[in-house]
Amino acid sequence: MSIAVPSPRHWKKPPLIKRAWLRWTLALGAALYLALAFGTTDVNWHRVWEGLPRGAQFVTAFFPPDFTSRWEEIVEGISESLWMAVVSTVIGIAISIPVGIGAARNIAPAPVYYFCRAILAVSRSFQEIILAIFFVKLFGFGPFAGFVTLSFATIGFYGKLLAEDIEDMDAGQAEAVRATGASWLQWINFGVQPQVMPRMIGLGLYRLDINFRESAVLGIVGGGGIGATLNTSFDRYEFDSAAAIVLVIIAIVMAVEYSSGYLRRWVQ
């Protein structure tokens, strides 16, 4: 019996989209849209050229940063922002723990699950600035509006990640605790909490970091804090003070970043 010599078989990676006409239509459509989008972008090169020296002037106005003349306002703004960040993180996390537990599919009954998921969805669907505009209208200018905004945003962030971490936990460990006759709260405390705790501590610090940075933005729409100070210094054309504020913000964010990295390693 003779074996037919197989002709060399070719192989090519199968294309992502199988239907050739669809593949080509999509590619052509995307190319066409991009061409049109670039074609209609209105850049006035003359104005760009004229603006360059003015831009340079603007940048040099930041140097040297002036820490002294507005130091009191800076300290006040920073401490207000820190207060906002810390309190809203603590309150937000405290509220998000029961919500997050309720939003974990593997431990919550269906009605509780859908209710808590709805809370998280509402909290996550608005960007902080939009919430801040709303709460500033509701509570008036000042750090209280900022605090409410950040707490509200923290619930969505922390609750969702807590729920997902609980859903990813090792069911065997939790089952073993349940088999001892533990009550529900004991089960959460012994079977679930140890499994999610390290990640949750890390995320709490990360959220503190986010809340501090957000608090710098909220001031611009009236939410108080260092953002308000920064906005005022821009309005007064005191760019050297603004530069000082920006540097202080960067320093604090870096300090939080490094300390949270250290703490996270420690709790692992």
């Binding site: 605790v177 001892t180 533990a182 004991q186």
Partner: protein, 282 residues
């Protein structure tokens, strides 16, 4: 005395895992439940403490009907049944001591357990059990620092500190080497004898089952196909449980009865092995 009558479990997927089995386990009996994967062994023991809710039938431990208990009563009933798991199922980020003490959760209040202020008698008992299995020096280590055999011994302590009347053991040796497997099985057998405990042990290893159990029940496709003495396990019986295979190497020969395990391990008939022996075998 555990009495199971007409126990049936149909999963939501429609699979009939157990088909109305009847089983009595008298006090102090160590029973091995063997059978192929998917025969329903795990489901049977999880239906006993209702980690899995049975579809029909009844389970009664010392005349207390477990099926049909409310949640508070079920928790009280679960205290009387210690469970030992495949892959140990220790809470890895808790310490050895916390894992052992978690066996007392059914007896202490929430705040007591939350603050880890267990009664002194529980702590004494925990140390006594850890000492018994040779791990008292490890009390403050985190569970994930231990080796497999050590973890399973902590799992045994967690089950025993419940002061159970029945041990439910689910594949205790599935992830252990052959020597550690024997040590763990011997330990379970010894502890059951010391405390007059009955035990149901799910196990894949037929030879281990024959060595350490007084009675063997074979499960196939959710039905009991064998119930009898370990010595009566013939190739024909094993074929009826597992299907056609060459069983000649699996069945323990009569002269193996003394169980010549490797090394200097004392046979399990000794009244009480010293803890150095157990401590050395990590």
């Amino acid at each position: 005395m555990l009495r199971i009558k007409g126990l049936t479990k149909r999963y939501r997927t429609g699979d009939l895992a157990i088909k109305g089995i009847d089983l009595d386990v008298p006090d102090g009996q160590v029973m091995a439940l063997i059978g192929p994967s998917g025969a329903g062994k795990s489901t049977v023991i999880r239906c006993i403490n209702r980690l899995v809710e049975p579809t029909a039938g009844s389970v009664a431990l010392n005349d207390i009907e477990i099926t049909g208990l409310g949640s508070a009563e079920l928790r009280r009933a679960r205290r009387r049944m210690g469970m030992i798991f495949q892959e140990y199922a220790l809470v890895e980020r808790l310490t050895v001591m916390e894992n052992v003490l978690s066996g007392r959760l059914g007896y202490v209040g929430f705040w007591q357990s939350w603050l880890r202020r267990f009664p002194q008698s529980d702590i004494d008992e925990a140390f006594r059990l850890l000492q018994r299995v040779g791990l008292d020096a490890m009390a403050d280590k985190r569970a994930d620092e231990l080796s497999g055999g050590q973890r399973q011994r902590v799992g045994i302590c967690r089950a025993l500190i419940q002061n159970p009347e029945l041990l439910l053991v689910d594949e205790p040796t599935a992830s252990l080497d052959p020597k550690t497997s024997r040590q763990i099985m011997r330990l379970i057998k010894e502890l059951c004898a010391e405390r007059k405990l009955s035990a149901i042990i799910n196990i894949h290893d037929v030879m281990l089952a024959q060595m350490f159990a007084e009675r063997i029940v074979g499960l196939r496709l959710g039905e009991i196909v064998y119930d009898g003495l370990p010595d009566k396990l013939t190739p024909a019986v094993l074929t009826s449980i597992y299907g056609e295979e060459d069983w000649s190497a699996t069945i323990r020969k009569a002269d193996d009865a003394d169980e010549p395990v490797a090394d200097n391990v004392v046979p399990f008939e000794l009244p009480r092995p010293d803890r150095d022996r157990l401590a050395g075998l990590t």
